[in-house]
Amino acid sequence: MMRTSELMGWGRYPRRPGPLAAPRTVAEACDLAKLQGVVARGNGRAYGDSAMGAAATIDMRGLNRMIAFDPETGQLEAEAGVILGDVIDAFLPRGWFPYVTPGTKFVSLGGAIAADVHGKNHHCDGSFGSFVDWIDVIGADGQITRASRDQNPDLFSWTIGGMGLTGVILRAAIRLRPVQSTWIKQQTIVTPNLSSAMAAFEAAQDATYSVAWIDCLATGADLGRSLVMLGEHATDSDLPHQHRLHPFKTPDKSKKSVPFDAPSAALNSLTVKAFNALYWRKGKRAAGETFVDWDSYFYPLDGILGWNKIYGRRGFMQYQCVLPLSTSEAGLTEILTETARTGQGSFLAVLKRFGTQESRFSFPMEGYTLALDFPANARTLGLLDKLDAITVAHGGRVYLAKDARMAATTLHSADPRATTFTKMRHDTGLHDQFASAQSERLLL
């Protein structure tokens, strides 16, 4: 059943009304895939316009059933609408955790595959796609094709990171990791500037998880001062005695939520500055080793439901780029300087070291990735164009799952794979069939 809805991403910018269909059965999903100019949508966690269909959008959340689990291999088969948090709820008490998780547990499996999301362990484990054994994809003809590294390998490799533009991901088999507890042993390292933060990442290549919160308002000698947070799944013997009896028990926490749009003025350079200063001081006190429950460690923002509303009704934009290892320090310095200079201030700025990745159209490459968020306004649009230029000049690229505004020329000059991807879509007839507002904007 098709109805018109106001469509938007997690950043609530841009928005536009469009037909949205929510199939309840596999057969309905196959019929919908035959419409022209459609794209599948999961739980709406892409920030920009990736999951807004050019002509119509298929809401896959109704196809959210788990199909099989093999405790020998940790392989879970499920429909694409299953939410990662539901996987954790079901399997963490039995000692399993997703191999790769992004910063929110509210992503659908289909969305995680389409954006080939990464987590804090990219430097050692790679992206979400590394732990996908196979996918079932509905093609332009409404037929379901199974694809894996051995079977239809082209469809497999184009679909992982293909932003939903190769068909509708219907089912997938993913691997889960055996864990001994729900706890993460976290070590926080305080670094006074960017180069020491990067040195901390390089020294921590063996850590399973690593990520840094970066104070993007610090300037001069303090530019890039960070809290580098390393993490390991705590084993039985790691756990302090109060947790050892119940290693899979998650402490109860109250959910906070943002019930309405904050007035735009609530988040200005002053509040951002205050927040960053507070976070810095709090983090410095927490330096050293602590035990953190999985939810707070991986999904600090999920604890505040609807946190995307703090930017007000106009919404916000995320900017995430990756720069190759050799140019990272120079490029990041430029980006942070430019950001601090405009005083736009990002509420949260996250720095992460990526490991190597060979893929056809996925975002990650070896180097450093920086994620920033800004209120959606004209000044931000101007700033992000400048950040694009810095990224491209340093041989980097921008994450499509967070993009809402990049120019097609930027993408195609930054990433020659985009042009190959577009050619493939034209050659195979996928171009007219599967299209999002983003693919139209970026000429994919």
């Binding site: 059933r65 788990m66 199909i67 099989a68």
Partner: protein, 248 residues
Amino acid sequence: MTGPTTKPVVILGGGSDIGLAIAHRFAQAGNPIILAARNVERLETNRSDIALRHNVDVTLTEFDVLQTGTMAAFADGIEPAPSVVISVIGAMGEQSDNEKDPDAAAVVMRSNYEGPALMLGIFAERMAAAGQGVLVGVSSVAGDRGRATNYVYGSAKAGFTAFLSGLRNRLAKQGVHVVTVKPGFVATRMTEGMDLPKALTAAPEEVAEKTFQAVERQRDVIYVRPVWWLIMRIIRAIPERIFKKMSL
């Protein structure tokens, strides 16, 4: 019922949106589930989903509420005997068809009253003999007073509600508890596309939660959204002389 048991919870009409939501809720509490429905093979993915999410056994059993002759054998086939049996079966039909076509009306009457009542009655006998068990009938607010727009359906639900009331009265001293659930509007496949008032419309998960709580707390009759109790009280209070001229 206190805590999870290894005895199954049987859901008659387990393939409906409300039936599946109730199955998830009881599975979440650790109960094994038996989904009974027509063409039950179509529910295989739902079966695996409930089993995997909640780490319980879930089985599928073919069941047709109009085949009253097979009901005793159906009840005997469930081993061990269920702790809870929930009937979610219902069929609205089209009121205009029901008015003109006695066969269509008969299907609605049998699906909403005869079938569920007979099946729960058979389980009631077994539970009474064992001295324990819970029976749940999902009836309807439409059974509280017959209205022009749906009285065929409503009258069958009224019969079912009265049956449950009598059963509860009879079994109260024998350790068997009977719960009547009146959902009001529910956003399901059956009502998709209807323009239902939001404040009066429950999600299937809400029906499931209230049903689960009613079983836990040994409630007798519940309206899923309490506002329906008030609405139906008012509707019942209108004198027939006035009521017959109203369109509700």
